[in-house]
């Protein structure tokens, strides 16, 4: 006792506490638990490690991974994380805080969420944002549920088959158990125009799984005529320069905030975002922060519209989400504050320049053809390989690159962010050229 750094109890402390309670020992506190359930044996776990040993254990694990130059995206993008962000997000007052239910001592959290909501509205062009969702795919699933909840007695959601594969998988999961009729199609407009569906909503990508920036001209009007809502799945970093969900006439925008300065970290924690038109505000799932005044008339922020949420409405709530990804929303908020409108534009310009350069160079090797010639893309693109894909991928891996991600359709995809230098791109192309010989 008293030898483990996280437990402050001395033998004497424990004695004093047991005496106050009136029981002889710690095990007597479990006298209400049937004895057969009390674990007598040791747990099969390693022996307690010192901090230095813990560090060494993780260093040895890290050493067994291979660091690669990332030329892939598919929903996780290797953008740079400014050093300001981890400094701010690791402040104990943010990191170790609970959900801001006690608003008087949580104004820091509440204010940054209010700022996040404002920035998500600025990026998407929509009116209202929530405090965050788990990740992009689950945000899409929540949007699907929101369409059904908002349109009453309508139960079909049409999803573009050009959404990212992991978004479609999560949509399938959520629809399977909640009985929503999910229709996947490559021609959303055609499926909707037939008019035979009890259409609740339509989910389309802003930038699709091939990296192409899609045109949704006329789609919102069509979907609305058929009584449904239009949801757009977006990369928020790209929204600084590509047409916004609001500009296309959409009702709900969802996506993953990872591209706003969150490290790849093998897939998480990331943060989902969700915004909608003001008419749908009371159907929006999750927490929402609102502005008000305290008793002295000072500007103050609170969690609001809580009548939608699980702790009040239980089985009648719009969603079961409770904990979200608050701290990751702070990552994005600090990122967007640093970048500003000009930084976001410049960042996207560099991605555009880099990715177009790589695509030209790869096509010049003669090992690929371009299945989507002339379509606008930003940082990610696919090519039709005219060579052995496995050999290509292995050659890239051997040279320390992660790229040429194989897609279900037989393409290979590449993504180039601002972090990839001209030298790195040239080195990758050189590896490919050697395959051609």
């Amino acid at each position: 006792m008293g030898t483990f750094a996280y437990f402050p109890h001395t033998e004497e402390d424990i004695r004093v506490m047991l005496e106050r309670i009136g029981v002889p020992n710690l095990d007597a506190l479990y006298s209400d638990v049937p004895d057969e359930f009390i674990r007598k044996e040791d747990y099969d776990l390693p022996s307690s490690m010192s901090e230095d040993q813990v560090r060494a254990w993780f260093e040895s694990m890290a050493a067994r991974n291979t660091r690669l130059k990332v030329f892939a995206g598919a929903g996780a993008y290797d953008h740079y994380t400014p050093s300001v962000i981890p400094y701010i997000t690791s402040r104990s007052e943010f990191l170790t805080a609970y959900t801001p239910y006690q608003c008087e001592i949580s104004q820091g959290t509440l204010r940054y969420i209010f700022e996040w909501q404002t920035m998500i509205c600025a990026l998407t062009g929509l009116d209202v944002s929530n405090a965050s969702m788990y990740d992009g795919p689950t945000a899409a699933a929540e949007a699907m549920r929101m369409c059904v909840a908002s349109t009453r007695k309508r139960n079909t959601v049409v999803a573009s088959s050009r959404l990212l594969p992991n978004v479609l998988e999560v949509l399938r999961t959520y629809s399977r158990y909640s009985g929503i009729n999910l229709v996947e199609t490559s021609d959303v407009a055609e499926a909707v125009a037939e008019g035979t569906l009890d259409l609740a909503g339509v989910i389309v990508p802003s930038i699709n799984r091939y990296g192409i920036i899609e045109s949704h001209l006329g789609l919102a009007q069509l979907v609305h005529e058929m009584g449904g809502l239009l949801v757009e799945y977006c990369d928020p970093s790209a929204l600084a320069v590509v047409k916004t969900p609001a500009e296309w006439g959409g009702d709900i925008a969802v996506g993953d905030g990872q591209s706003l300065g969150i490290p790849l970290c093998y897939g998480g924690p990331y943060v989902g975002f969700m915004a909608c038109r003001s008419e749908l505000m009371r159907k929006l799932p999750g927490r929402i922060v609102g502005q008000t005044q305290d008793a002295q008339g000072r500007r103050a922020f609170v969690l609001t519209l809580q009548a939608r949420e699980q702790h009040i409405r239980r089985e009648k709530a719009t969603s079961n989400i409770c904990s979200n990804e608050s701290l990751m929303a702070l990552w994005c908020t600090v990122y967007l504050s640093l970048m500003g409108p000009e930084g976001m534009r410049k960042l996207n310009s560099i991605c555009y320049e880099n990715s177009h350069y790589l695509k030209r160079e790869l096509l010049a090797t003669g090992l690929f053809s371009d299945p989507f010639e002339g379509r606008e893309f930003l940082k990610e693109f696919v090519l039709q390989p005219l060579c052995d894909v496995q050999k290509l991928q292995q050659a890239l891996l051997d040279a320390g690159f992660f790229g040429a991600l194989a897609t279900e359709e037989g393409y290979v995809s590449f993504c180039v962010t601002e972090r990839r230098t001209r030298e790195e791109i040239d080195a990758l192309v050189k590896v490919v050229k050697e395959l051609a010989l």
Binding site: F4, A5, Y6, I14, D27, L29, V33, P34, E36, F37, Y43, D44, V54, F58, A62, T66, V84, I88, S90, S92, L95, Y98, Q102, C103, I105, Q107, G108, T109, P137, N166, V167, V170, Y177, I213, A240, V241, K243, E247, C265, Y266, G267, P269, M281, I288, G290, R298, T304, Q310, H311, I312, I321, C322, S326, T333, S337, K346, N348, S349, I350, Y352
Partner: protein, 460 residues
Amino acid sequence: MRYYDKLIFELSRPGRSGYSLPDMPKASLPEPGSSIVWRQTPLELPEVSEPDVVRHYTNLSQMNFGVDTGFYPLGSCTMKYNPKINEEVVALFNGYHPLQPEETTVGIQSIYDFMDKALAEITGMRHFTFLPCAGAHGELTGLMLIREYHMSRGDAARTKIIVPDSAHGTNPASAAVCGLDVVVVKSRPDGLVDVDALKPLLGPDIAGIMLTNPNTLGLFEKDIKQIAGLVHGCGGLLYYDGANMNPLLGVVRPGDMGFDVMHLNLHKTFSTPHGGGGPGSGPVGVGERLVPFLGKPRVSGFHGNFGVILRACAYILALGKENVKLAGRLSTLAANYIKESLKDCYKLPIPSVCKHEFVFDGLKDAGDVTTLDVAKRLLDYGFHAPTIYFPLLFHQALMIEPTETESLQTLDSFIEVMRKIAAEASENPGLLHGAPHNAPISRPDETAAARQPILKYSKV
């Protein structure tokens, strides 16, 4: 803590910037007018310098309370200390793409394997999925597995799930999202599930039951063996809501009690920071018969919140087989100590031994002082408030959970303050109605916030 009134947008000046990007003067995008796919609307983000940003968010942080600031006696939330080494190890893994081939992430796969084995050992389950990102997400995943099990047996009629009236709000909400109808089973006056009321609910339409044990009153459901027998007997499965796992950590394994599927909140029981409301992680463990379905529900984008899983892993390594046996016991010790030290001035509706948490039903001598007043007054004394008005069984519920990482001195000063507040309630109730007096803000007008919502900043 001091009041600071700015929003980042109010620091903005045109032309200022805080970014640092590689210099590529020739890089440019097509003109917005060149194609309809480009953005036309100007992007309104703040234009601020790096020092502006750092100072602004530092000032914001100083209006916040965290575990590192002070004690959180927050029932059902397990706000234990968040070890600092856990934060440092995450940086070793930041650069890996989630779709990298497995042969390039051997260390990462070993960590997942280690966590699978460690959590299975601690809980008595067979295997875990790490996809769920929080507790409620884990509940949903677990219920999907239960449905998958019944569907695989052609048992499609099992669409009802039993949930006690004392359950966390997420339980019925998760069931509804999973397409299940909720059947509520009542608690007896002693706070435990009424087994006699449960029996008539069981039948061929029951998918299972969701229980948290100890329950939200901090009471161990001692009839669990009988309940498990009854539910299994009718063909249903048992879900264990791991939000209250902390008192059982190192003492009792849900798998041994007959549970088929459960989630853990790594941000509660396994010491990862709550982050102002996430990221959490809600891995789901299953017993033998659900193992074949474990990979089926794809509930999140990649591999779950790996960064959170790393922190929990560091905690388990530090805890080790020696200290794990103390964690639950010491949390139970602390809860009972507070309960016994305050039951003369706060109403204790159920006097039996509690586990990691317990519930007072307000002050004994309340007058017009409410639980909300007590909670807000605690903020003045440097403590977070307990969970209030939950569970719904008592009108003035104050739910207190101290965890095993608080010292006797901290517990004693909390007890002293709670007694002082009880005295203030009878001597000067106005002081409590107006609390907090020392926080960055006083009580806000929440009605106005909901009636005329202002949900984003707009320039005046």
